[in-house]
C-alpha cells in the first residue's frame, strides 16, 4: 500500500491565530500522509487542533506555514476561488449537524454540490444524485424533506451529498456526534461500506469507540501529532450493531438542519 503516492500529504503544517494581542498556535508542525483507499480517524480532545486540521484539509482555511498537497496539487498558495473549485471537485464533506438545506428535498440536497460544477448537466446531476442516494440506501426517500427524516437518515443524505461529486477524499467532522449509539453504528456501517468500495475517508472524532472502526488513527494533542497507529483489529460496525441491546424507541427524533 505504501508504494503508491499519497492522495493527501501534509508537511510540517502550522496554523497560528491572532486572538487580540496573543498568538494562538493551533497547529505546531504536523506531518502525515493519507493514501488512496485508507480509512483514517483523526482524534484529539477539544483544543488539540483537530478542527483546524480539518478546515485546512477541507480547503476552507490555509496554513500559516508548511505544505498541504491534495491529489498532487499544492493548495497553500491558492486563492479563494481556486480553493472553492477544489472543494467542489475533489472533496466531500459530512458535518456533525448534517447541514441539509431545510424545505429542500433529499435529492435536491444531494444535487447541490453539482450545481457549482457547470460541466455537469441537469440530467447527469439527477442521475448521480440517485446513485449516491442508492449507496446510502435512501433512494426511496429522495423526495422527503429533511424534517420528514430521522437524524440518521438526514446524515445518510449528507453522506450521499458528500459522495455525489466523486471526491478523492471524504472528510467527516464528528459525523456521529449528534446521533445515538445505534444510529452511530449504522452510519459507521455506511462508512465501512464506502471504504470497502475503495473510498478514502478522513473521519474526525473525539470518541475512541468510533476510531476502532477505522484502519488507522491519527491522534493530535496541543497542535502536535501525538500518535499515528495502524489498527490491527478493525471492528466491524455491522457486527457491533447487531450486538447492541435492542432499542427502546424505534427511531430517534433527532433533527438538525440548516435553517
Amino acid at each position: 500500500m505504501q508504494a503508491v503516492s499519497p492522495i493527501l500529504s501534509v508537511q510540517n503544517l502550522r496554523r497560528d491565530f491572532k486572538m487580540g494581542d496573543e498568538i494562538v498556535h493551533a497547529l505546531r508542525g504536523v506531518s502525515f500522509d493519507i493514501y488512496p483507499g485508507e480509512f483514517v480517524t483523526i482524534m484529539g480532545t477539544s483544543g488539540s487542533g483537530k478542527s483546524t486540521m480539518l478546515n485546512i484539509l477541507g480547503c476552507m482555511d490555509r496554513p500559516t506555514s508548511g505544505h498541504y498537497i491534495l491529489d498532487g496539487q499544492h493548495t497553500e498558495t491558492l486563492k479563494r476561488d481556486a480553493l472553492a473549485r477544489i472543494r467542489s471537485q475533489k472533496l466531500g464533506f459530512v458535518f456533525q449537524s448534517y447541514n441539509l438545506l431545510s424545505r429542500t428535498t433529499a435529492i435536491e440536497n444531494v444535487e447541490l454540490p453539482l450545481l457549482y460544477n457547470s460541466k455537469i448537466s441537469a440530467e447527469e446531476r439527477h442521475h448521480r444524485a440517485i446513485e449516491a442516494l442508492k449507496m446510502v440506501g435512501l433512494e426511496s426517500r429522495m423526495n422527503h424533506l429533511p424534517n420528514q427524516l430521522s437524524g440518521g437518515q438526514q446524515q445518510r443524505v449528507a453522506i450521499a451529498r458528500a459522495l455525489v461529486n466523486d471526491p478523492v477524499i471524504i472528510l467527516a467532522d464528528e459525523a456521529t456526534g449528534n446521533l445515538d449509539t445505534r444510529t452511530s453504528y449504522e452510519i459507521m456501517m455506511i462508512f465501512q461500506e464506502l471504504h470497502s468500495q475503495g473510498k478514502t475517508i478522513a473521519f474526525v472524532t473525539h470518541e475512541p469507540d468510533i476510531a476502532t472502526f477505522s484502519g488507522r488513527t491519527i491522534t493530535l494533542r496541543d497542535g502536535l501529532l501525538k500518535k499515528d497507529v495502524i489498527n490491527e483489529k478493525v471492528q466491524n460496525a455491522k457486527v457491533a450493531f447487531e450486538m447492541l441491546p435492542p432499542p427502546e424507541t424505534f427511531e430517534d427524533d433527532d433533527e438538525g438542519e440548516v435553517e
Partner: protein
C-alpha cells in the same frame, strides 16, 4: 451556475418568505406606480396644452412689449405697441395674411338678471382667422364700418350664460354700463382642460375698447397670421424689422418680443415640464425608499441564511455564485415590483382619466425607463448585501447559529 438555476433558487427562497417578499415588492410597486402616474399626468397636460395651442392657430404669431426687468424692477421704460404698428404690419408685411391687436377690459357682461364674468377683448376682424374661430350665426364686425361702434360677437359660453334658449342676435348686452349689440355668435371650440375656456369670449372692435372703455393708445399684444407653416420664422423677422424701422430703433436690444406659435407652446409647456419634473422626482424618491426596503430585507436574509451560505461555500460555491444568488433575489423583487407597479400605474392613470376627466397620457418611454430603473434598483440595493454574503468565511458561516 446557469441563470435558470439561479433564478429557481432565488424564487424558491423568495417564496419561502412570502410576506416579506410581498412587502418588499410593495415598496417598489408604489414607487413605480407613482412615477408612471405622475409622468402620465405631466405628459397629458403637456399634450393638452399643445392641442389647445394648436387649436388657437398654428400660424399665429404673437407680438408683445419686451419688458426688461431685473429683480422685479423695470430698468428701462418699455416701448409700447400702438395702433400704427398694426396698420404698418398690415400694409407692409408680405409673409402675413392677417393681423389683429388685442386690448382687453375685465368686467361682467349683463343681460337682464343674467351675467357672465367674461373678459371683453378688443380685436380686429382678422382675429377670427388667426385664432381659428368661425362665425356660427350673424356676422363679424368690419374693421372700417364698425370702427368704434358698440357691437360685439360672443362665444357659446357667453350665449349660454346670458341668453339661455333665446337667439342672442340683435340683443344688447351691457358691459361696464355700456350697451353692446350682439351681431354674431361663434362656433363652439370646446374648452381645454387646463387652459382657458375658448368659448368664454366677447369680441368687440379694438377701437371701441381703446376709446370707450380704457381710454388708452397702448396695445398689449398684437397677433398676426403667417401665410403658411414654413413662413413663421421669416414672418417674425419681417415684423421685427417693420416695428424697428417705424421707430428708427438703434439700440442693441429688441423693443418687442415676437413669438411663433411653436415658441409659445415651448414657453407655456416649460412651466408644465418643470411641474411634472418635480412631481416625478417626488415619485422617484418613493422608488428610492422602496430600494432601501429591498436592501434592508436582503441584509436580514443574508444574516438569517449565514449557515446556508457557509454550507454552499463548503461544498464548492465560489463567492461569485453566492453573490449572484442574492443579487438574483433582489433583482427579482425589484422587477416584479416594477411590472406590477407599471400595470398599477397605467390602471391608475386610466382611472383618473375616466373618473376625473383629466388629460392623462402614459408614455412608452416612462414604462421602459421605469423598468430599467427597477432593474438598476435591484442591482444597486442588492449589491452590498450580496457582496457581504459572498465574502463570508465558510468556517465562520458554518459555525453561525
Amino acid at each position: 451556475m446557469n441563470p435558470f438555476t439561479l433564478a429557481k433558487i432565488a424564487l424558491r427562497a423568495l417564496f419561502r418568505n412570502r410576506m416579506r417578499t410581498f412587502l418588499s415588492v410593495l415598496g417598489i410597486v408604489i414607487g413605480v406606480a407613482a412615477v408612471i402616474t405622475m409622468v402620465a399626468m405631466g405628459e397629458g397636460s403637456k399634450k393638452s396644452i399643445k392641442e389647445q395651442m394648436t387649436a388657437m392657430g398654428t400660424n399665429a404669431i404673437t407680438i408683445m412689449p419686451n419688458q426688461s426687468r431685473r429683480g422685479g424692477v423695470q430698468t428701462e421704460s418699455t416701448e409700447m405697441l400702438e395702433e400704427e404698428d398694426v396698420i404698418a404690419i398690415r400694409e407692409n408685411a408680405t409673409y402675413i395674411n392677417g393681423v389683429s391687436p388685442m386690448v382687453t377690459v375685465g368686467g361682467q357682461a349683463i343681460v337682464g338678471n343674467n351675467n357672465s364674468p367674461t373678459t371683453l377683448s378688443g380685436v380686429s376682424a382678422d382675429y377670427l382667422k388667426i385664432r381659428n374661430y368661425e362665425i356660427e350665426d350673424g356676422v363679424m364686425f368690419d374693421d372700417e364700418a364698425d370702427r368704434m361702434s358698440k357691437v360685439c360677437v360672443i362665444g357659446q359660453t357667453v350665449v349660454k350664460n346670458l341668453f339661455a334658449d333665446e337667439n342672442p342676435i340683435g340683443k344688447t348686452i351691457r358691459y361696464k354700463s355700456i350697451p353692446l349689440k350682439v351681431i354674431g355668435t361663434l362656433k363652439a371650440k370646446g374648452s381645454g382642460d387646463f387652459g382657458q375656456d375658448q368659448d368664454d369670449v366677447i369680441f368687440t372692435p379694438y377701437q371701441t375698447v381703446m376709446r370707450r372703455f380704457s381710454a388708452t393708445t397702448n396695445i398689449r399684444q398684437i397677433y398676426a397670421n403667417s401665410i403658411g407653416e414654413g413662413y413663421a420664422a421669416k414672418a417674425t423677422e419681417e415684423i421685427m424689422t417693420i416695428l424697428k424701422e417705424r421707430r428708427n430703433w438703434t439700440k442693441p436690444t429688441d423693443p418687442f418680443r415676437v413669438f411663433t406659435q411653436e415658441e409659445m407652446i415651448q414657453m407655456v409647456t416649460s412651466t408644465s415640464d418643470m411641474l411634472s419634473l418635480v412631481l416625478t422626482a417626488i415619485a422617484g424618491i418613493s422608488l428610492f425608499v422602496g430600494g432601501i426596503g429591498i436592501m434592508n430585507i436582503m441584509y436580514v436574509s443574508v444574516t438569517e441564511r449565514t449557515k446556508e451560505i457557509g454550507l454552499r461555500m463548503a461544498i464548492g460555491a465560489r463567492g461569485r455564485d453566492i453573490l449572484l444568488q442574492f443579487l438574483f433575489e433582489s433583482v427579482i423583487i425589484s422587477l416584479l415590483g416594477g411590472a406590477i407597479g407599471i400595470a398599477l400605474g397605467i390602471a391608475a392613470s386610466e382611472t383618473v382619466k375616466l373618473a376625473m376627466n383629466w388629460p392623462m397620457s402614459v408614455s412608452v418611454t416612462s414604462v421602459i425607463v421605469s423598468f430599467g430603473v427597477c432593474f438598476a434598483t435591484g442591482v444597486f440595493f442588492g449589491w452590498y448585501p450580496a457582496r457581504k454574503a459572498s465574502r463570508l468565511d465558510p468556517i465562520e458561516a458554518l459555525r453561525f447559529e
